[in-house]
Amino acid sequence: MGSTYWWMLLGMAIATYVPRMIPLTILDGKELPPIVSGVLRNIPFAVLGALIFPAIIHIQDDILFGILGAVIAFALAFIGLDVMFVVIGTIAALAVYSLF
């Protein structure tokens, strides 16, 4: 691919690193207005909602596959299993499903 590829890679690396690094190092221990820090504390749970849906529904062409995966994962997590077992259990259940 030649040197163009490596320049592109450098650009991609910077474009990825900057959004990761700037807030973490600049906001470093600064006191933010309560409403702002309240919103920031909400971010993790909102992000998770947005990351899960609708993507999980479309992991395979068969929509039922993703919906089944979501239901199983929610069930396993709800009964209190550790994250690792939620992941392994859901994969195992879907593997069985796609075999039949």
Binding site: M1, T4, Y5, M8, L9, G11, M12, A13, A15, T16, Y17, V18, P19, R20, M21, I22, P23, L24, T25, L27, D28, L32, I35, S37, G38, V39, L40, N42, I43, P44, F45, A46, V47, L48, G49, A50, L51, I52, F53, A55, Q60, G66, G69, A70, A73, F74, A77, F78, G80, D82, V83, M84, V86, V87, I88, T90, I91, L94, A95, Y97
Partner: protein, 240 residues
């Protein structure tokens, strides 16, 4: 309490499992796109962003200009501004250069694991552990995917495509239990993201950012207002 480096490695191990099929497929696709093993592995090593890397491959294959690929990468990763800003509220004080190093390891997945820790503060050692195991899996399995060039058995490949989402659910649900605010935050963000996705209003990079921010702000205003109402109510009672 999760505070040490090795506890970080352990907490990050479900990410490593989740990355395995995604990185393997990336290595394989990179090979079919015409990248050498060095070029493919270097992308995982220096860029380290799943969605952006996949997008770069498909754009390279269609001959899109490199600067457009870089712009795309930035847009896809803009959401990390929000995540690392949120994380800055939770991490223990540390020299800037240390934060600058583990900041490189912040992905959707490592952020989710770090931000859902019950600890009041995330230690630097723990953050390094989570970041390192996830990063290693991503880089190593990119190279492996390029070398072996073969897929996993079809049924396993399909089943493993759920791994990262199952992990997100496994991280979210314990916080949802008995906490209506968390349920509301996740549900509203999911609903907004679905609406944006199915109407094709925004590209994925923007839509996750917008859905997250709208939900976080809306719920915060809702809760601030309701506490104010409660305060006003109790004040009135006291006056009476």
């Amino acid at each position: 309490m999760n505070t040490t480096f090795s506890q970080g490695l352990k907490a990050g191990s479900s990410i490593a499992i989740g990355y395995f099929p995604v990185a393997l497929t990336f290595g394989l696709l990179a090979k079919t796109t015409g990248l050498s093993i060095i070029e493919a592995t270097a992308m995982s090593l220096f860029v380290y962003a799943g969605a952006a890397q996949y997008m770069a491959l498909s754009l390279l294959a269609t001959g899109v200009a490199p600067w457009l690929i870089v712009t795309n990468t930035f847009i896809v990763n803009i959401r990390h501004f929000l995540m690392t800003a949120a994380l800055s509220e939770k991490v223990e004080p540390a020299p800037r250069w240390k934060k600058a190093i583990y900041a490189f390891g912040i992905t959707d997945e490592t952020f989710s694991v770090l931000a859902t820790q019950k600890n009041r503060q995330i230690t630097t050692a723990f953050a390094f552990g989570v970041a390192l195991i996830a990063y290693s899996s991503w880089v190593i399995f990119t190279a492996v995917g390029h070398v072996i060039g073969a897929n996993l058995p079809q049924f396993l490949q399909q089943a493993m495509s759920v791994a990262l989402y199952a992990m997100f659910i496994g991280l979210l649900v314990p916080s949802m239990k008995g906490n209506r605010k968390v349920v509301l935050l996740a549900a509203i963000a999911a609903a907004i993201h679905c609406a944006l996705y199915y109407t094709h209003l925004l590209s994925t990079g923007w839509s996750i950012l917008v859905a997250t921010l709208m939900s976080a702000i809306f719920v915060e205003i809702l809760y601030v207002k309701s506490t104010k109402n409660v305060e006003r109510f109790t004040e009135q009672k006291e006056v009476n």
